[in-house]
Amino acid sequence: MSSLGPFVGKTVTIITSDGRTLTGQLLGHDQTTNLILSSTIERIFSPPDSDEPSQEVEHGLYLIRGDNVAVCGLVDEDIENGIDWTAVKAYPLGSMKHS
């Protein structure tokens, strides 16, 4: 069974069940995938057909409940810093739950 152990202390990007993208340093986790993220940034991407640059919102320290975590991915710091995020456009992700 795989765990998030190797990711602790590293920068990760989380996709939540409502389709938000949060990037931050993973401080800790537990069996139910509750996560502690520090210096969290939420990136809000503009759709490709819009001229608005994509935005970043600073959120500080986050405790995310495991129910709401869909994906937790390890970030390569060098590649991450080399990207101009304001120029990145994307359609918003849908939420995990469908009515």
Binding site: T16, D18, L27, G28, H29, D30, N34, L35, I36, S38, H59, G60, L61, Y62, L63, I64, R65, D67, N68
Partner: protein
Amino acid sequence: LPLSLLNAAQGSPMLVELKNGETLNGHLVSCDTYMNLTLREVVQTSPDGDRFYRLSEAYVRGNNIKYLRLPEEIIEVVKEQQAQQQAQGHHGGRGGGERGRGYQRGGRGRGSARGGRGGGRGRG
């Protein structure tokens, strides 16, 4: 680690966002292993952000939580607490461990001696 961080955050202000989009801003009174919370001096905001309620106390059932936003200073407070606990734990643990091993060695030695003699009688 997450739940211990939450326990260490008792008394500090936080923002709780629920699965239905409501937000509660208040000070954490207590929490449990299910992430149920009691908060005091709470401001509850509706999902649309148009209605505000002030509550002196609130109870939140853990499974309704989407996330919690905590003040950044908490990490440092927790690290200090952990450092203090580890220092105390090491001193107590080393002393207790030595005593425990001593008892076990004595017990096994006596037991195996008797067992050996008993085994010898049986075979003979």
